[in-house]
């Protein structure tokens, strides 16, 4: 962790609302939301090696928590955020338990099932969860409020992730990712750390879901949390580069701004052009930057040079 880049990012984020219009503050809030979600996925996938194509489901849980507490219990919107953090954390732990038996593509499919099935719950329990017409929170907030809260949450999430990953827990996560066998033989409990990673990751997604609902004028509806959302977060994480906290901001900008910027670009703005360009960029990044933006940054880091001299006798 270096102080200078953090200072620069914070300074830019503090200055930004004074320089841009309310509308652009709204867009910047979307970036904050994706930042938190991608950060959460990165803890699970990048640091612990567990893939998830179902993070939209946890966002739905967080989002509905916020809107229900506001609409039915008249909670302050800010107070709903810790609640959705807690509920999503518990849901993540619960999902983490069956996920212990799965790995690789099977885990991906199981979490994908989650992404597909969770948005159906509001339809099934439409009396409580509003069905396809959704639910409105009791209040709506201004662009600036959303910007400040969104980026404050992002900063807290970033700090939390950093604190978590630099210590004992982070080392255990990385050990699980690199070799489960080696981790177990070093005394790392697989069930505990795998479910913990799911819980933490889901908690991040839950807060992101709450914020997504707030930025959508306090309106929660199953269509907001479709399969596409889960895939967007996964793509964002891939663009960011797994196992790095710094790339996340680039992934979040990519996912958060492209859909809003693209309609203004001539060729891209056409009906399907946007999807084509989006896909193309993802393919290019996978080809040229297989480790995402984080891997790109790492290329410029000074590294220890090792030179292997060929042995003249064997040549």
């Amino acid at each position: 962790m270096k102080l200078v880049p953090i200072g620069v990012v914070v300074a830019v984020l503090v200055a930004l609302p004074f320089l841009i219009s309310g509308y652009h503050q709204g867009l910047a809030t979307y970036v904050a939301i994706y930042f938190i979600a991608i950060l959460g996925l990165n803890i699970l996938t990048g640091y612990t090696g567990q893939i998830s194509i179902g993070h939209g489901a946890f966002m739905a849980i967080g989002g509905y928590t916020t809107v229900l507490l506001s609409a039915d219990q008249h909670w302050n919107l800010l107070a709903t955020l810790p609640a959705s953090l807690g509920i999503s954390f518990v849901c993540g732990l619960i999902v983490g338990v069956p996920a212990l038996r799965l790995s690789g593509v099977y885990l991906a499919l199981a979490t994908f099932a989650l992404a597909v099935s969770v948005p159906q719950f509001p339809l099934k329990f439409s009396k409580f969860l509003g069905g396809s017409n959704g639910i409105h929170a009791a209040q709506t907030k201004s662009h600036l409020w959303l910007y400040v809260v969104g980026w404050s949450c992002s900063a807290l999430a970033f700090a939390a992730a950093w604190l978590l990953l630099r210590g004992r827990i982070g080392r255990a996560f990385r050990a699980v990712r690199d070799s489960e066998l080696a981790a177990v033989s070093s005394g790392v409990s697989l069930p505990i750390y795998k479910t913990l990673a799911f819980g933490v990751s889901a908690a991040f997604a839950g807060v992101a879901g709450s914020l997504l609902v707030l930025v959508t004028n306090g309106y929660a509806q199953p269509g907001e949390f479709g399969v596409l959302l889960s895939l967007e977060i996964l793509i964002g994480a891939a663009v960011a580069g797994l196992g790095s906290l710094w790339g996340v901001i680039v992934g979040a900008v990519f996912i958060g701004l492209l859909p809003s910027v693209a309609p203004d670009v001539p060729l891209i703005g056409s009906a399907h052009g946007q999807d084509v360009v989006f896909g193309l960029i993802v393919v290019l990044i996978m080809l040229l930057l297989p480790n995402g933006f984080a891997g790109f940054l790492r290329r410029f880091e000074p590294r220890v040079k090792t030179t292997i001299k060929s042995d003249p006798k064997t040549s």
Binding site: L3, S132, N133, G134, H136, W162, Q221
Partner: protein, 410 residues
């Protein structure tokens, strides 16, 4: 830890400074956005892509009508600039796109945005900012009934429960001993229809022998149709989306169920869908529904409205098919918007537009002949008349209207 605390302190400071700026940023007030000396800018969100993209012919037809208006002098000397954005029917996309229209493009009004959930997501936002949200493309009854709390919003088409009530009244009067089997979508859309049917049937609601629901996400309704057939029902009422309606008609024929009457709801009664059902082996002759649009290509083709529709579409959007009732719908909505903009006067204001839309009393050329758009300060349902139609002629067939025009459908 020390560094972390420093970061948090900086952020907290930032939050306070930013908080002070709140009032400054939102205090500014401008006079009538979207109206310049030469243009009036309006915009809306539509599903141009994704599962609901079959509705994309609506904004295409609307754009065609505005192009026609602009070529004929525009509205009080100003040309209409209509911005169409693609939200893919996803309310979380509708919000930023609508904010873009209002705050970046500075539109005069949001016109015709499509879908119940997308419109609900921007309902409070637009009303708080006093931006007109007009002639929304959804048949839910919120828009008309909530006009006191949401004075900047108004719908357009006849609402769903009212339509279903008419089916109930029809069955009560014409088939008092029918055994009715209902297929409905298991959400607010389908349930509102079903509730309306029961209201219309009144005491005869006990004639409903079976009601089967399906989830909006499932495309097969085979199980439900089999259950309805087994219940002994001899009238089949379908309150579904187009895909499931087509499936229901085809399945009923394939399993050998021949009810005495089949009723489908208006939004699924697009001739294009009936032809698909017939081409897939469904027996669609005799199917009943209701209509409020000019039947441009068939029984109404000699009306002035049909001729105008044909002229506009062939010149400005020749790729569109006038058999697609969504195209006629788009022309009608755009006609009504143009009419209201004209009524709002030489220097239109947002309040003036709402006033014009809440005092309609006019027969528009793209409605069914004999129908009128009528609104008042207390009646915010522009189109609330329906006429029964019956399909004949199979895959090459058409709707034939019959009977009286039902008024004040809601």
């Amino acid at each position: 830890m020390g560094m972390n605390r420093r970061v948090l302190a900086v952020l907290a400071g930032a939050a306070i400074v930013a908080g002070i700026a709140v009032t400054a940023a939102f205090g500014a007030h401008r006079a009538t956005p979207g109206v310049s000396a030469s243009t009036i800018t309006i915009g809306g969100t539509f599903p141009l892509t994704g599962p609901a993209s079959l509705y994309k012919t609506i904004p295409a037809a609307e754009s065609a009508y505005f192009a026609y208006v602009n070529d004929h002098g525009g509205v009080n000397g100003r040309k209409i600039d209509f911005k169409v954005l693609d939200d893919g029917y996803d309310p979380s996309k509708t919000v930023p796109l609508t904010q873009q229209l209002v705050e970046q493009d500075k539109v005069f009004a949001i016109f015709g945005s499509l879908g119940t959930a997308p419109n609900l997501s921007i309902w409070s936002y637009l009303n708080t900012h006093k931006v007109p949200q007009v002639l929304v493309a959804t048949g839910d009854s919120y828009w008309g009934f909530s006009h006191k709390a949401y004075p900047w919003t108004i719908g357009y088409q006849p609402d769903y429960p009212g339509e279903a009530k008419i089916y109930g009244q029809y069955l009560d009067a014409n088939m008092p001993t029918a055994k009715i089997g209902v297929l409905y979508q298991n959400d607010a859309y389908g349930k509102n229809y079903y509730a309306g049917l029961r209201v219309g049937l009144g005491a005869k609601k006990s004639n409903i022998v079976s009601a089967q629901s399906y989830d909006a996400s499932s495309t097969s309704v085979v199980q439900q149709v089999l259950a309805l057939k087994a219940s002994g029902a001899n009238v089949f009422v379908v309150f579904a989306l187009p895909t499931q309606t087509i499936g229901a008609l085809v399945t009923a024929t394939k399993v050998g169920w021949t009810p005495n009457a089949t009723i489908i709801n208006n939004v699924s009664a697009n001739p294009v869908f009936l032809k698909i059902a017939a081409a897939n082996g469904g027996n669609v002759d005799g199917v009943l529904s209701t209509n409020y649009l000019n039947l441009v290509t068939t029984t109404d083709k000699n009306t002035a409205g049909a001729k105008l529709a044909t002229a506009i579409i062939s010149k400005y959007a020749s790729a569109l098919d006038l058999n697609d009732s969504n195209v006629v719908y788009g022309l009608g909505a755009a006609w009504t918007m143009t009419y209201a903009l004209k009524k709002a006067g030489k220097n239109p204001t947002r309040a003036g537009l709402m006033k014009a839309l809440k005092s309609l009393n006019v027969a528009d050329p793209f409605s069914y002949p004999g129908m009128k758009l009528q609104t008042s300060a207390t009646d915010n349902f522009p189109s609330e008349q329906l006429v029964f139609i019956k399909w004949g002629g199979g895959a090459a067939g058409q709707w034939a209207p019959f009977g009286k025009i039902y008024n004040h459908v809601r």
